[in-house]
């Protein structure tokens, strides 16, 4: 699914969270959103999910203007916020089942997919426990399993690497995300971890004060940078200096 921002402006009072953002994200990529705190990363994700409404400009998904009543478009993407949506008193599998049924992804084979994912994320022994009895990382993994099992075209994740997941869970997520991207899925995530973004993204989108400062592959960014080994760190340093 093509995601295109055309001059999107979004303000919270006097703060411009997104300042005339124009951007085209093509399918089959892992895109990391980088930027200082309050740069507009989460707002960008929320705009795609239909939660935040742009003040100006439009969002196009596969060349079709996005509106909240376009359920056909909305059901092609899945949002996973930093604190996931859960029915906390229900079991892990029941939460997964509700998500699968909502996204109409509960057809044949769903059970095997869920089983495999639960094993991958070390959640199988906890599959029937209520989510409120799990740790934060485990609860996040439960939501992640639901997202992976639903397997929408666009995955929107807000700070997945600051979610309390253990290294094994992070590794499993990266593996599944890579495989999904090769199947044509778009994975868009925000992070503050530059080394993670450097290794785990096809494209990097740097936002500062609501403006897109860079949106390119790491190779291209490296070509333009003076410090080729620490391209993202240098970029952040420049952003910080320009903000002073």
């Amino acid at each position: 699914m093509n995601i295109e921002f055309r001059g999107v402006l979004k303000s919270y009072g006097p703060v411009r969270a997104l300042d005339r953002v124009s951007l085209l994200i093509e399918p089959g990529q892992i895109v990391s959103l980088l930027g200082p705190n309050g740069a507009g990363k989460t707002t960008l994700i929320r705009c795609i999910a239909g939660i935040a409404a742009p003040d100006k400009g439009s969002l196009y998904l596969d060349e079709q203007e996005f509106r909240r009543d376009r359920l056909d478009l909305r059901r092609r993407m899945h949002l996973l916020p930093d604190f996931p949506f859960h029915f906390w008193e229900q079991s892990v599998v029941r939460n997964i089942a509700i998500v699968l049924r909502l996204f109409e992804a509960d057809g044949n084979g769903a059970e095997e997919r869920v089983l495999e994912l639960l094993r991958d994320f070390d959640l199988l022994p906890l599959a029937l426990r209520p989510v409120n009895s799990l740790s934060r990382g485990q609860a996040y993994k439960a939501a992640l399993v639901a997202m992976l099992a639903a397997d929408r075209e666009v995955w929107l994740l807000d700070e997945p690497f600051a979610s309390g997941m253990d290294p094994h869970g992070i590794d499993a997520f990266k593996r599944h995300a890579r495989a999904a991207a090769s199947r044509g899925r778009t994975i868009l995530y925000s992070t503050q971890l530059l080394d993670v973004a450097e290794r785990f993204s096809d494209r990097v989108c740097v936002i500062h004060k609501g403006e897109i400062r860079a949106f390119d592959t790491l190779e291209r960014l490296r070509q333009q940078a003076s410090d080729k080994d620490n391209v993202l760190e240098e970029m952040f340093r420049l952003l910080r200096d320009s903000g002073r």
């Binding site: 229900q90 997964i96 059970e111």
Partner: protein
Amino acid sequence: MRLHSPQFEKAVHRGVRRMIRVSPELKRECRAARTLRRHYSITPLAAALIALAPGYLVWTMQDETSHPETALAFISLWGFALMIFRAQAVLSCLFASSDLRTLILLPISESTVFRWEFQRFLRGSLVHLLHFAAGFSVLAWLLDFSALKWTVVPLLALLTWAVMISMATLCAARLPWLPYRLLVNGFVVLIFAFIVGRTYIGPVLLEVVDRHASSLNLLLPTGWPVSLFELLLPNSHWAYLVLLIPIAAVIMTFNGSLRRLAGGYRYQERAIPPASDLVPHTETPTPISQDRDPERPFRLGPTAIEEVIRSRQFLMPFPWQNAGWLENLLWRWLSDREKVLADFVFPNGLRISASWKTIFRNLGVALLLALVADLVSPAAKFWLLAIGLFITICHVLAVFLATGRAFQVTISSGIGIPMYAGLGIGLRELSVFLVKCSTVQLPFVFPFAILCSTMVVWQTGMPLQFGFWFGLKIGVLLLAGRFLTLTFGISGGTNDTARIRFRSAGLIISMAFFMLAFLGLCAASLFIPDQRIALPLLALTVAEAYATFRLYGWFYNGNRFDLMRLPQR
């Protein structure tokens, strides 16, 4: 323990100002932030207007009846409603306050947090002192009190306020399980009904309060301090002074209630027992070993869990369709997608039939008790009926207008996001499902509404035919009200009214207009005696409520606001 250090705050302010002075960019940001800070709240104005309402109503009652006792009974009733409202508020303040999440992380003792939150509750309750002061002052003014008598008026207001607060705290401490929120909603509906049908309900209510004024003042705890006002009237009886004993007793419970509430105030992480495995519900339940230790949580082994998953048992929705006739009817009416939504909105299943059984049973008990009480005292019959009706109507509203988890909000990055918005659920499909949930209950709603209104007209001596039409129309209006509750439910998870901006001004103005039109149409369709005019107006009311909902949906679909509830500043 102090949570604020003025010296530290002053030092920080000075440092920040110094930095802003030397940086043009910071100056610009500071100017912008000032614009953000400059906002006007209508809350103080609304609180002041509400505080004046008892005064206005006391004046109306005294003017209509010339019985000070009736006006005093109204103050007692007002105090009683405030008591329920404050009991709910004290529980919310102590146990559901938004700042508790932060306070948990600070090295502050529970007793300090308790004191702090309770003080906040008391500060919030001070405005109700104005309510009583306004009521008593208007009555004193109408009765041409001497200067000496006027000096007692503030004392009485203070005493009534103290009794109201003590009773609210007592209720919260001793009866925390009472459905205060439901009762508060019931009072709101009563006020709504009064506003809609003031011309018709007003005289009836006035007559009822007038007739039972003395028993109201003696039966309601908030009526005891109010009754002392009678000592200031000509030909008063010293026996009212006896009421000082129960008043003192109620006020003396305050410390005990506080101790009880403080004793149960534990907000640190609790060591909860390990949770058992929740096996998905099936026709053939998973056998659980009889010799299992009941103290230890029930666990399935990995192979059994795999089997549960492989069997697709976990993908089955909660089987609520066989819980009763209404559930079965609804199940057959729902589309496949709506059945999925039912699982999302009511993950523990729907319980409609059982709730309606309880409603009719409670109404029957109230009616029976009222008939028995009629043999002893007509006043007791009246109050038993009134209480029975009030409780069952609150229950009906909760069942008929239930929204389950439909609009539940999840906090993410400091803002509340409704779950439906994040899971690709559409406003229209969700609303259609909830409207179906209400519509299927109409076969019970109409008999209930007709029965209740017939009981009311029987009690007030109006023709029974009026009760039939009234009940029928109330049933239809409840369905119309469903569209409005849906609108408010959605609105509760958005920032549509967080700030009045050009984009949202149209929404707010048009919604206010439609709400006023709805109130007007409700009043007209209910109280116009000629059914040839009233029934078309009733249809218009339903259409208007639907149009209000659709209009809101238009703004919703047009991305005129965010689906986020921003934190309160």
